[in-house]
Symmetry: C2
Subunit: 354 residues, 2 copies
Amino acid sequence: MFHKDMTATVDYAAYAAATPKGPLERTTVPRREVGEHDVLIEIKYSGICHSDIHQVNDDWGSSKFPMVPGHEIAGIVTEVGSAVTKFTVGDRAGVGCMVDSCRECEACQAGQEPHCLKGNTPTYNGTGKDGLPTYGGYSTHVVVTEDFALRIPEGIGLDVAAPLLCAGITLYSPLARYAAGPGKRVAIVGMGGLGHVGVKIARAMGAEVTVLSQSLSKKEDGLRLGAHEYYATKDKQTFKDLRNYFDLILNTVSADLDANRFLSLLRLDGALVQLGLPETPIAVNAFALARGRRTLTGSLFGGIAETQEMLDFCARNGIGAEVEVIAADQINEAYERTLASDVRYRFVIDTSTI
Amino acid sequence: MFHKDMTATVDYAAYAAATPKGPLERTTVPRREVGEHDVLIEIKYSGICHSDIHQVNDDWGSSKFPMVPGHEIAGIVTEVGSAVTKFTVGDRAGVGCMVDSCRECEACQAGQEPHCLKGNTPTYNGTGKDGLPTYGGYSTHVVVTEDFALRIPEGIGLDVAAPLLCAGITLYSPLARYAAGPGKRVAIVGMGGLGHVGVKIARAMGAEVTVLSQSLSKKEDGLRLGAHEYYATKDKQTFKDLRNYFDLILNTVSADLDANRFLSLLRLDGALVQLGLPETPIAVNAFALARGRRTLTGSLFGGIAETQEMLDFCARNGIGAEVEVIAADQINEAYERTLASDVRYRFVIDTSTI
């Protein structure tokens, strides 16, 4: 089969939203034939990220349909192009939030492909260099240049590895950037799909880890996964007890939070890293930044090299996501449950059920 | 003379605001007698900082009267306490924004006394450890512990040195923190009392320096003082031309600016440092931070050790402020002119006229 620009394609089964707000239904989508630098990955598991739901719902106003979401992809290489050197058939491989970038700008040269000045190619809802729409991981297969495929080390189950490709690297990257480790006090705001992986990684890095969650309902899990302390943010006393305390706060919550309250928990030169993307601007008092030279910053996922580093780190430390594996026909229900925070802690689709 | 708590005091001439909004008039104020760790400085010059006007006007709601403003103080040591080792009579000395701190908290231990967790003792509008109100530099003399007095090197005129004690260190500190130097692209937003000193210091550090000013009215001065480039922010093209360009932007403007527009001028991992303190919160789009891992932070003035480093740096590089020296009876007029931005670039009071 040929795409309109004469790119040879092969159709694969997938779950797609045909129109905004879904539902997601079984269909097929075309992917390019395996080029010389490409690998074909038979997807085994694909995580459901909260941003998939935003994209399906067109919350950010840039969604294209049909849409096959999914950028937490883990599987097995079943075909490699003639020039491929990094993978052989049978290798465990993953794909995260992007499948290409310009590779030439200063961000790409610095290994920060998510920040590509020309825009990276997102794993879905984008357009590849092949001219085709990109389709994500809710599918049986994906074709990707080997440079944007990751090696998934032995020792991590593919099901619990899948969410590392987005949730894992999104937390690992700022933890690494701010050198979380022994002697550093790290707070993770939000004990969800992102937060729970952050707890595990920060703990493995050697930091002192505190969860700041709305309530104490997940405290037992938090401590079990590695947190040293667990506080409820609905309790005003939390903000008194922890004033000037943390070196680093990673805010995984997308809902509007009072950034100034969280900034007040930072000690000298501490950083608040916003990982969730609230819809309204964050209102910051200049004095809350000046006092203690506190920093507010953001982060996307990480570059390819850093993502590989994260996977290797997680394998060495026995870290995977806490997952609930579902069949493909449960995707729409899983979206409802994700929106209701009724998941501990990540839905992962068994793509053999597609 | 004795203060009510039996601290022995001596009265000195000063210009004070008796009530909010002034005017400032000649009076006398009590200062403690020189203690064993104190120096008495005969003030020669005292700069007028914009924040003096805010304090006199009680804009921040914490002003105490009578108030003697002034935290840009340069003079000569005329008496030293028995235990003083850092100064002898006749030394050139300065006092900046604070005259003491707890000296024990982690900020003080880190040499970041402005961020003292118990609060530093401001040079005026505060209460000293002696129990007396602190009075600033619009006066003939000041008594200060030697640990919070600075050595003003030979080679800088005391008149042009005075503003370095606030304006100079306020710019030097973030420039040093973010390693401004060769290969770094630094923007200074606002070509006023703070900004013009920032241009000089950043240039001397070896950075590529750009001024971002509302208009081009001070362009000639900016280039003369060391800027490589000078752009008008009222010109929309500026924000297109300089997108993703700077490593560091120091915003000296207190007025509300669109932080997102300035963030868009930062390259990967760049920092926007807010030095002016706008009255309304800064509204930041989370995505403007996430994209490029941009940082928004604040800064106060600097610690004592860093302030000394700054003065030594300025002396080595022939840097002083651009000043207009006035007599004490021109202070009220100078306030009006400062509010109207009619000063190039700092008023300095010749305190012999008090």
